[in-house]
């Protein structure tokens, strides 16, 4: 009875691996693959020998790593969010905060971009307010600026995800044994000491698992966010690996370089799997538990 599902899973998750063979051929859309077009590792060499492609790859990897690093470097924020929210005594207020800060997680990146457009374009909210305050006299389109793209992308990601990512820690806090707090209180721990010595250690296991997973996916930022925010002014600093693969292979209306894009994607997949296995090993060594 399970066979149809096994086949489905095979067709959509395993069969694409067969598409890796395109990396070794001279491929033109519309033409089939035959051994006449077999070129071996030509595209792998091309990737490193062609100056323009090499420059592109270095730029794209830099963007990818910087933006991932910003995310990883601030991955303590959801935990801090949960801990500080837990310090608020008014439960109605707490509930309210949680409700509203989680909503952004459920809208698509296209809609996030629409918000960015509504707020930051020439006629947008920010410009109108700045004009009212007399700071500027003419609205400018902030979205068409290529400056601080890494930080802006990080900010949008945080806006969208902070409240949501905090939920796992909020649940974690409610799972901490209340007796620990009482014991700490009896021992004379104040509020901040309880946060520091009871709450934080209680959440560190969750935090370290998520941290390891995010390090393992350091090359995969996804393409949605960067795709919708991309424009002529910021295209050099916004392009991450996933988006680069898309643009290289499919983005130019049928004239893309399918084999080269396959090579890049293939190397990315292999490195990601290696990173994940590495993270898993580390987790086993430190915590004695695997994460995958």
């Amino acid at each position: 009875m399970i066979l149809p599902f096994v086949i489905l899973c095979f067709v959509f998750s395993y069969l694409p691996l067969w598409g890796w063979r395109y990396a070794f051929f001279e491929y033109q859309p519309g033409l089939g693959l035959s051994m006449d077009h077999f070129v071996g590792f030509k595209w792998f060499r091309y990737l490193f020998e062609n100056a323009a492609t090499r420059a592109d790859i270095i730029r794209v990897i830099k963007n990818t790593l910087v933006m991932s690093a910003l995310g990883i470097g601030t991955s303590f924020l959801p935990m801090a969010f949960a801990i500080f929210l837990n310090e608020i005594r008014a439960s109605k207020f707490r509930k309210l905060v949680q409700t509203f800060t989680t909503i952004p997680n459920f809208i698509s990146w296209v809609l996030v971009y629409t918000f960015a457009f509504a707020l930051f374009s020439s006629e947008g909210f920010v410009n109108s307010v700045l004009i009212d305050l007399g700071v500027i006299s003419q609205g400018t389109n902030f979205l068409m600026s290529g400056e601080h793209i890494w930080l802006k992308m990080w900010a949008w990601g945080t806006w969208k995800g902070l409240g949501w990512s905090a939920i796992i820690y909020i649940a974690g806090i409610s799972g901490i044994d209340q007796q620990l707090y009482e014991a700490a209180t009896v021992d004379g721990a104040g509020r901040f000491q309880r946060m520091r010595h009871v709450t934080v250690p209680g959440l560190i296991p969750t935090f370290s698992v998520l941290l390891l997973l995010s390090i393992a996916s350091i090359l995969s930022n996804g393409m949605d966010q960067y795709f919708v925010f991309k424009n002529s002014a910021n295209k050099d600093t916004i392009e991450v690996l996933d988006l680069y693969v898309y643009t290289l292979g499919l983005g130019s209306g049928g004239s893309g370089n399918i084999p080269l894009a396959t090579v890049v994607g293939m190397l990315k997949s292999l490195i990601s799997v290696a990173l994940l296995m590495g993270a898993n090993k580390i987790s086993k060594l430190i915590r004695g538990e695997s994460i995958v």
């Binding site: 399970i2 599902f5 809208i107 629409t114």
Partner: protein
Amino acid sequence: MNTKKRKSKGLTNKKRIYKLTKGDITFNIINYLFFTLFTIICIFPFYYLLINTISDNELVRTGQIKWLPKGIHFRNYISLMNVNNLGSSILVSVARTVLGTAVMVGATAFIGYLVTKQEMWGRRFIYRFFVITMYFNAGLIPWYLNMSMLGLTNNFWAYIIPGIVAPYNIILVKTYIESIPADLEESASIDGAGYLVRFRHIIWPLSKPILATIAIFGAVGHWNSFTDSMILMSGKPELYTLQYRLYIYMNSTSNLSALMNSGGNVSQAVIESTLNMRSLKLTVAMVTIIPILLVYPFMQRYFEKGIMMGAVKG
């Protein structure tokens, strides 16, 4: 009432032991301020979008609606009916969300049930076979070539079929079903009920909470996706999802009349006088958000459960 009293008494007790120091008070003020501010930042864009779709369009075009709506009207939403292709995109989005979610939930429940059956041949292997796909990925281009080889480009079923087997959801459902007492199934089995009957009458009703959880997350995922539209449907614009349609409008440099339906009983001039590009973009965005906002209160109950169960992988 009673519990409230006790709670506040507990608070004063604490206060007596530990005086609210100056540091405490400063911390509280900063804490409340921070959360108030962040909450406002999270919801203000939604509010701003709303007031800009119901205000006087000329004021909207020049960016004069900031805090409160002015000249409230709802004609923008009516004018959307004359925008080309919007109707078909809404239909596609609704269809893929409803159908895609239903099929995924049904399949996931069934697979989740089957992989708990010890007597099934190769059970562990099959379960691994599903789950391991979460951790590797052939990449975008091979995926695209594969879809095109299967004839799933420019084809509505491309939205539905690949999503039927959802490994993460299988883990959630399997874990949940394992927590259902085995006695229930056993007694039914003694009474002569086969797998399908037991699945239908015991497992399915008892797993409703987890099925609701995956249904909600699945539906949101379907509703929000747009890159599959862009990559797979390039030859069939009538199959674009609403999200991708919105993306196209957002990046459209053409004027309004190019997007509007010239036929029908509404003249071009009337349309132009009631709508402009900025209003159009924001109104379409609002239409795209509304379904999410409608199901959101209902979804909230399932967040924590879903997340915490995901943390316990089996």
